[in-house]
Amino acid sequence: MNVVVCIKQVPDPEIPPAQFKVDEVARAVVPPPSVAPVMNGYDAHALEAALRLKERHGGTVTALSLGPPSAREVLKRALAMGADRACHVDDPVLYDADSWLAAAALARAIYRIGGESGRSGQNGQYGYDLILCGRQASDTDAGQVGLGIAAFLSLPALSPVQQVEVIENGRLRVERLTEEGYQVIDVRLPALLAVSSEIGEPRYPPLRGIMAASRAQIPMWTAADLPPLGRKDDGDWPPLARKLRLQRLYQERREAACEHVQGESPADAGRALADRLRQVGVI
């Protein structure tokens, strides 16, 4: 099974609240100097799912990232964890992409990856069997890019996914989370799955993997290197364009400071808290 995993580099969500700053003019987060950006959490879960499928069923895992030069760090980590190869899409025209632009660029990159594998794999005409990504990125929290890639490549897609198993060649048994539990769904390959954290903890890269990854050659593609999908009559599909504009990015001012409810004893404070909540109509 040949799997492509889409991985985004994001600001570390563990940035202490006091250090999280927004540049309202640039409409961007100011990266704190001491905290390096990281692999998006859900994408790490997607990579873990891909590596487990490879361990059980063979095949290859290709890590793909769209982003500035620093995104090579998350690709190196993916290689260190066990991915066979990595591709980096880097072009200033794609920076700060919205979901449409990111999905369009990644769909084209995946189409190219499929072509370079000689359209091999179980699904010959595609050159890949499965695309995995995280259910959403922790910076924009949009959850659209994976489903967009599937739309452009005309693949079945499911999100969010907590479990993946191969039932037979060409079909998967997938558990998709719902509001009340989950659905068990039989999915035809090739397909795209947006993975959630329930799938299991991502592994730590072994030292040997880290050493090897530091020497790895990672190809870099610009927008000009991304071919249109070549299926639609309208030529340049999908268009590398934006649908949304970020008009404003800001931090909400905290409301008045916390009112500390006190009492002669902790139990007394508990009773006073109940009275205060009643007084303001919360309970």
């Binding site: 969500p13 009340e180 659905q183 769904i185 649908k243 931090q251 409810v261 508990g270 109940a274």
Partner: protein
């Protein structure tokens, strides 16, 4: 603002329950009416959902598209998508609203990419400013707020709305509903089954109100200290008639099941009251509860970050605070 189309959701059906709209449907109608006035239409898919069309009309939908078909009993995007597409084709809306629910968020993204329009997910505010729709949502786990507009004037825009972030629509009286039945072609059903076929639907529901719908949530963190003391959190939740939540540290430790996790990798909740017990207030947890109207923090550490988000706080050992708090609440509610 032209026509606003609301993609309504019905409550999942189980043995015995009556057909009903999901709470998000009323919130979608509420938001749509504030933007679209009377020019609001709705679409609903499922099985045995036709009786709910009148309910949508009574809450402000001038026209209701209904696809009522046994083939739509289980949600899968492949069968629900063509239904919404038919409604869009017929109603020609300028804005389509869905819920930021498990199904709504998947359907919305699939639809937006198919139709070639912009989509902002998880909106907490929609406003029209000088003729332009501004869609506001929390980003970076709630640490920042982003306002999006369409890159270029577009015929169609889409948004999903965070549950409980918008006032639900009230009744508008007994308006005669214009109901349009929609069909799911057999070929679509057959193709959908070949691509994604639901084999089984598993419910995992805890007792008490569901975490995501609860008006009151009592959540415990690492500071609860042990599985043996977890019952104190549950008892306060019971006294308040609320749901129990937990931080990731708690679910990782096995004191509470993973389904109760609130935060970046768990549920996002927006209750009226969120009581945080022994929770330090890490960004990842705050991401899941920042939308609560009132946060109350009970923690021994006066410097815990949670107090920066709380409206009321008690700095003390929760083991002594909680039982007294629960008893006093019972007394007050008994009045």
């Amino acid at each position: 603002m032209g026509t606003v189309l609301v993609v309504a959701e019905a409550q999942p059906r189980h043995a015995g329950n009556m057909p009903a709209l999901a709470p998000i449907s009323y919130e979608l109608l509420g938001a749509a009416r504030r933007l679209g006035g009377d020019d609001v239409v709705a679409v609903l898919s499922g099985t045995e959902v036709r009786p709910l069309a009148g309910e949508l009309a009574a809450h402000g939908a001038a026209q209701v598209y209904v696809a009522d078909d046994p083939a739509l009993a289980d949600y899968v995007a492949e069968t629900y998508l063509p239904v919404v597409e038919q409604a869009i084709c017929h109603a020609q809306p300028s804005l389509v609203l869905l819920g930021q629910t498990a199904n709504g968020r998947e359907l919305a993204a699939r639809l937006a990419f198919r139709l070639g329009c912009g989509l902002v997910t998880d909106c907490t505010r929609l406003a029209v400013n000088a003729g332009t729709l501004v869609m506001t949502k929390p980003v970076h786990g709630g640490s920042a707020i982003a306002e999006y507009v369409a890159e270029a004037p577009a015929a169609l825009q889409m948004a999903t709305l965070r549950p409980r972030a918008f006032e639900p629509a009230g009744r508008v009286g007994a308006k005669p509903a214009a109901i349009v039945g929609l069909e799911v072609p057999a070929a679509v059903v057959a193709q959908a089954a070949e691509r994604t076929r639901v084999i089984e639907t598993v419910r995992q529901v805890s007792s008490g109100p569901r975490l995501k719908d609860a008006r009151i949530v009592v959540a415990g963190g690492r500071g609860v200290g042990s599985a043996a003391d977890w019952h104190l959190v549950a008892e306060l939740a019971a006294a308040l008639g609320g749901a129990v939540g937990a931080t990731r540290a708690v679910t990782d430790a096995g004191w509470a099941p993973p389904s109760l996790q609130v935060g970046l990798t768990g549920a996002t909740v927006t209750p009226d009251l969120y009581v945080a017990v022994g929770i330090s207030g890490a960004v990842q947890h705050i991401a899941g509860c920042a939308g609560a109207r009132t946060i109350v923090a009970i923690n021994r550490d006066p410097n815990a970050n949670i107090f920066k988000h709380a409206r009321f706080g008690v700095v003390a050992d929760y083991r002594q605070v909680l039982p007294a708090l629960a008893r006093r609440i019972a007394e007050l509610r008994g009045d």
